[in-house]
């Protein structure tokens, strides 16, 4: 950019970048291609990047051997419910912490902030005992309810709400607006980038998680899709590569849909989350 005329430099740079990008994509490509090959070809080396025979056999197998549709729906459902629920919880708390004066607001906020550094996995044991007492083991609420509190979301939204000029809020208040109207008509319309960022971070966190599903879910039909694929793979050993890769490929679909919708928002959102530390 700053060296006009350095054509060779630009060419080398772009070639290196594109090669890097291809290296990132190749594992996915390999997985999808292998999932489309007949079982006799899947383990053959060298890998065929342009397979001669294509078949949906592996896909039929994975959907027949485990309740995969149900499990994908579980994954999507849990992620969506947690994103919506935790964002509502976070908006309310962040509004109070950013805008309202009340006794104890600082210490209450600081306690939460300190907890941000504590990985919840280390408290897996009491967490498990709580769920057992609530009779929630092997249910989807076991994954949803504890995830409704996302301290990171509260922190990020509070930081953002503090940047909204108070004059807007005062004007609304003089017109007789209460907290509900202020949140709805002043705070929220000015906060969509922050809320998008928070939703993406939370959604990724839940979608990506393997620890809590592994701890709480035991029966196939309750499992989230990644856990179901892993337990299927463990039960069948290395021989089930085709069906497992078919499952992995199917799991790319919700992501592609998400990517089409989020596109720019994704990079902007993550960037936003990074900047408003």
């Amino acid at each position: 950019m700053r060296h006009p005329g350095r054509l060779t430099g630009q060419i080398v740079l772009n070639v290196v970048l594109v090669l890097g990008g291809i290296a990132m994509v190749l594992p996915i490509l390999y997985t999808v291609i292998t999932s489309l090959e007949p079982a006799s070809q899947q383990f053959k080396l060298p890998p065929q990047w342009i397979p001669r025979h294509l078949t949906l056999q592996s896909y039929r197998l994975i959907f027949r051997m485990i309740p995969f549709t149900q499990e994908i729906l579980n994954s999507v459902l849990i992620t969506v419910v947690v994103v919506v629920g935790s964002t509502i919880v976070a908006v309310l708390a962040a509004y109070a912490f950013a805008r309202l004066h009340f006794r104890g607001s600082r210490p209450l906020f600081l306690i939460m902030l300190v907890a941000l550094m504590v990985p919840t996995q280390i408290s897996a044991i009491p967490e498990f005992l709580i769920m057992k007492h609530l009779h929630l083991i092997n249910t989807r609420p076991a994954l949803i309810i504890p995830a409704l509190i996302q301290v990171f979301a509260i922190f990020l939204l509070r930081q953002h709400f503090r940047t909204i000029p108070r004059d807007l809020e005062d004007a609304a208040r003089i017109d007789g607006a209460g907290h509900r109207l202020i949140i709805r008509h002043v705070i929220l319309p000015l906060s969509w980038p922050a809320i998008t960022a928070v939703s993406i971070v939370t959604g990724q966190f839940i979608w990506n998680d393997f620890f809590w599903p592994k701890l709480f879910l035991t029966s196939q039909s309750k499992m989230v899709a990644p856990l179901a694929l892993v337990s299927f793979s463990d039960a069948n050993g290395g021989g089930a590569l085709g069906p497992v890769f078919a499952g992995v490929s199917v799991m790319l679909v919700p992501i592609l849909i998400g990517f089409v919708f989020l596109q720019r928002r994704l990079t902007e959102g993550v960037g936003f989350a990074g900047v408003s530390r």
């Binding site: 970048l17 309310l92 209450l108 907890a115 408290s123 990506n208 592994k214 900047v275």
Partner: protein
């Protein structure tokens, strides 16, 4: 006299008394903030704060999953110090975390600078998409994919390395290579996020600073060292802390790809907590490992912030 005085006093008080009612409702209005934070705080208390305190409490108990708990004082902690598996898990977690954090920082910075310097919009777009996309995949799915790729018998990576004349190790079954291999898997999935952080960080450096440096005759290297690095250091600190905390809790890769092996050489701390509690059924000892994990993590985060005062540069523009 006294009576009229009291009356006068009362009369004076009456208007005040009228305000007692709004005072009450103001007091009720004072509860509104607590209403707003109550869902968050209820969940926070039940699912984060109490389990954390309970973990500390349970760590002083001998509690077999199906038996009754009884206090053992510091016995679990004494056992922990002499537990070679715990030590191994600590070492593995450290190695994994440090390699991950360092690689994140270097690769993401190089990549972000490369993308900034490229003048091709298509290349910029392609690289951004290719590097961020794996972040949206679920960890379990990523692990299954790499299990196939890194397989020693039929995986393409070993095959191509062999073709190139190398003698590739059995990545996931080698005591030496297992952690670096898992770092590669982790990087593949998460490097895109650090890359975006860096990209945003680079974009926020005012161009004026580069102009000024150029006018003063600073070389490209000097501009990098004296403008880019200091201006980017807050972003870098953030990225390090985030990747450090994330990597320290690593579980998915070890659990799916290696089951902690070979010979515990990829067992992670969180995985050891999980195993002690839910496979060996020792809730007390599992909690002790959890507490130690937490203490080590907090110490390191503090050290990082302490050191950061020497290298992180906060510019007030």
């Amino acid at each position: 006299m006294t009576l009229s005085k009291t009356r006068a006093a009362r009369a004076r008080q009456t208007p005040l008394r009228g305000k007692v009612k709004p005072g009450l409702s103001t007091r009720l209005a004072g509860l509104v903030p607590y209403l707003f934070i109550s869902p968050a705080y209820l969940l926070f208390t039940v699912f984060i704060l109490l389990p954390l305190l309970a973990t500390v409490a349970i760590s002083f108990l001998n509690w077999p999953l199906l038996g009754t708990p009884h206090a053992t004082g510091l016995k679990n902690y004494v056992d922990l110090v002499h537990d070679s598996v715990a030590l191994k898990a600590l070492r593995n977690t450290f190695l994994f975390t440090i390699l991950t954090a360092a690689a994140h920082l270097i690769i993401a910075l190089a990549l972000a600078m490369g993308v900034r310097a490229s003048r091709s919009r298509i290349v910029q777009y392609f690289v951004r998409t290719a590097f961020v996309a794996p972040f949206l995949m679920s960890g379990g799915v990523v692990a299954l994919m790499w299990g196939g790729l890194m397989n020693h018998d039929f995986g393409p990576i070993a095959y191509y390395l062999e073709k190139l004349g190398f003698n590739p190790p059995d990545f996931l079954n080698s005591k030496v290579w297992v952690i670096p291999s898992l770092v590669v898997v982790d990087l593949w999935q998460t490097i895109g996020i650090t890359f975006i952080f860096m990209l945003v960080g680079l974009q926020s450096i005012p161009a004026v600073l580069y102009e000024a440096a150029r006018v003063d005759g600073a070389s490209a290297w000097n501009r990098f060292v004296h403008v880019t690095l200091p201006m980017l250091s807050p972003t870098a600190l953030f990225a390090i802390v985030i990747s450090f905390i994330g990597a320290f809790q690593t579980f998915t890769w070890m659990e799916i790809l290696t089951n902690g092996g070979p010979g515990n050489s990829s067992l992670s701390m969180v995985q050891y907590v999980y195993r002690s509690a839910f496979q060996n059924f020792q809730l007390g000892y599992g909690s002790t490992i959890g507490v130690m994990t937490l203490v080590v993590l907090l110490l390191f985060t503090l050290v990082q912030f302490g050191i950061s005062r020497w290298w992180v540069h906060y510019e007030r523009m």
